[in-house]
């Protein structure tokens, strides 16, 4: 009995030391990592809509079983003129073939897609994983939300060979998110007519 207790304590000691080291490293690195992440997100947004400043808007959604209860999108205003709205940036997420595919999309004030960027995915390498390439984003440019369907479903987004499911996840997630924020933007436009000008 004493022998096992001793073993247990030695193992405990190893764990405590390991945990302490981890906690220390985490406390040192976390602020830096968060900062880097924030900068990366800003840079990603700036690539989608250049020369703009971003302010975030939080929409509270009615409670549903499968949807999150809030959603954030960004209004992009021109750097030179803060009353001029250039467009909106939204992030959309849906399960693809083997992972959650998270996409950032920029739309103009007519809700037409300016550009997209897949920021998080772990799809099949060589097939679905090609969705983070620029040539994939190219397929979305200039599309209206009504046309945002994979070609097999009757829309105008050309599905990647062997990765229809990934394409569909990206396409549908963006379309659905646009539909949500569109309502919000339009209700704002009604209450705040000066934004239009």
């Amino acid at each position: 009995m004493k022998f096992y207790l001793k073993l247990g304590f030695i193992l405990l000691a190893f764990c405590v030391v390991a945990t302490a080291i981890l906690a220390y490293v985490n406390s040192v690195t976390k602020p830096r990592i968060d900062e880097l992440k924030r900068v990366a997100a800003q840079e990603a947004m700036a690539k989608l809509i250049p020369n703009a400043e971003f302010s975030d808007v939080v929409i509270h959604l009615p409670e549903g079983a499968s949807t999150p209860d809030s959603l954030v999108y960004y209004i992009a205003t021109a750097k030179a003129d803060s009353t001029k709205i250039l467009g909106y940036i939204l992030s959309a997420e849906k399960h693809g073939y083997s992972s959650n595919v998270k996409t950032m999309a920029a739309i103009d004030t007519e809700f037409k897609l300016i550009n997209i960027k897949v920021i998080e995915q772990a799809e099949t390498p060589g097939l679905g994983a090609n969705c983070s390439s620029d040539s994939f984003a190219e397929r979305f440019k200039g599309l209206l939300p009504e046309k945002l369907l994979v070609d097999k479903d009757g829309g105008e987004v050309k599905a990647m060979t062997g990765a229809t499911i990934t394409t569909r996840a990206v396409t549908n997630s963006i379309r659905e998110t646009i539909a949500i924020i569109r309502k919000d933007i339009e209700s704002r436009a009604n209450t705040l007519p000066e934004v239009e000008a």
Binding site: L149, D153, G154, G155, T161, G162, I165, N172
Partner: protein, 374 residues
């Protein structure tokens, strides 16, 4: 292989069944389907079939030479594998598709495991699975099926759907999406797509019109006219799978020659029939005794049930086992067709049950007389 026929205790009877005899008889039974394929799609389907068979035979000879075992290509088993593989591709395939598929089927599906009688799954189906995973666009895309359907006989219908003109004189202008679907896919693909609400909801902008159009197309899939077209094979599909008539002709020959046994095809097709009667419909179309006929006539079920699921090496030895195996095949086929990502599930269902075969054999093997139950 011969000893595998014997599952009961002595006395044993011996008839003149031999491997070449069985294999070449199956090849003969497959010929009517080839005649129909040439009629519908032209000589290309014959060349592709011969290429597949030739590739299989050469691969077998090459590997047997490498393995330094007797070369047994004259027994017809490799020829049959290559032929069946080619029956599973479209007549518009590039020439190298059956060549690579058949070579893979023989090399990885059969010789790797030690040749005839040792393969765990049907080599031809494994070859097809390989092609489907490697070149999905060539194996499934809509326009591979239809382009060559230009014979006078086939112009009478649009992809076998007989009374489409009656449904909507101007479907092409009212609902181009629905029109594209019925003119460019196989009948099973049409059925699968109509089941998908994200397609149906976007046919036109009107919800009520959408359900009318989709229900009309769906019911026309199993009206008498379409079933007739399916029976003769005047639809989009793979080289050897479309004509139910030709396949039944071949199946009758095999049953008469006592080469295949009735249990596997009957229970396989029967399971699909019963399940699709209850589960095969879409919202708003109700039950119809015609619908299961659509499901057993369409796709590769006839080819699979009579010619592939019955393969000696990969199906169970006992009678009870064969029934379980066939029902399993039917169940998997229906699950894939109705809820899976692919419109057709025959090949994967047979592959799946092939893998189950040793297990089924183990649990259904009769006890030798006098042995004590564990």
């Amino acid at each position: 292989m011969k000893d595998k026929f014997i599952v009961s205790p002595a006395p044993h009877l011996h008839d003149r069944t031999s491997i070449p005899n069985v294999m070449w008889n199956v090849v003969i039974a497959l010929l009517p389907a080839l005649v129909f394929a040439v009629y519908y799609w032209g000589w290309r389907s014959l060349w592709l079939t011969l290429l597949g068979a030739l590739s299989a035979v050469l691969t077998e000879a090459l590997i047997q030479k490498l393995r330094k075992v007797p070369i047994t290509i004259s027994d017809g088993s490799a020829f049959l594998t290559g032929m069946l593989l080619s029956y599973n591709i479209s007549a518009n395939s590039p020439w190298w598709l059956p060549v690579l598929g058949a070579a893979f089927a023989i090399a990885v599906g059969k010789q790797v495991f030690g040749g005839l009688g040792n393969n765990p799954v049907n080599p031809a189906l494994l070859g097809r699975a390989f092609l489907l995973a490697s070149w999905p666009s060539l194996m499934t895309s809509g326009d591979t099926w239809i382009k060559t359907l230009s014979r006078p006989f086939s112009q009478a219908s649009i992809n076998g759907i007989s009374n489409l003109d009656l449904i909507h004189q101007n479907l092409q202008t009212v609902a181009p999406k629905a029109y594209d679907l019925v003119t460019s896919a196989t009948p099973l693909k049409v059925a699968q797509t109509l089941r998908d609400s994200s397609f149906v909801n976007t046919i036109t902008s009107s919800d009520s019109l959408n359900s009318v159009i989709s229900n009309n197309i769906f019911t026309s899939l199993f009206d008498l006219g379409t079933l007739q077209q399916l029976f003769w094979g005047n639809v989009g599909g793979c080289i050897g799978e479309v004509s139910v008539f030709a396949l039944l002709l071949g199946a009758a020959y095999l049953l008469w020659k006592n080469i295949i046994e009735w249990r596997i095809p009957l229970f396989y097709i029967g399971t699909v029939f019963v399940l699709t009667f209850f589960l095969g419909g879409i919202k708003g179309t109700g039950y119809s005794l015609m619908l299961p006929f659509f499901h057993i006539f369409a796709g590769g079920l006839m080819l699979g049930a009579f010619f592939m699921a019955t393969d000696y090496t990969t199906s169970p030895l006992t009678k009870k086992g064969r029934v379980i195996y066939a029902i399993g095949c039917g169940l998997m086929t229906v699950i894939i067709r109705l809820w899976g990502g692919y419109p057709e599930g025959v090949s994967y269902s047979i592959l799946f049950m092939n893998v189950m075969t040793p297990l089924i054999d183990k649990i259904t093997m009769p006890k030798a007389f006098g042995r004590i139950k564990k």
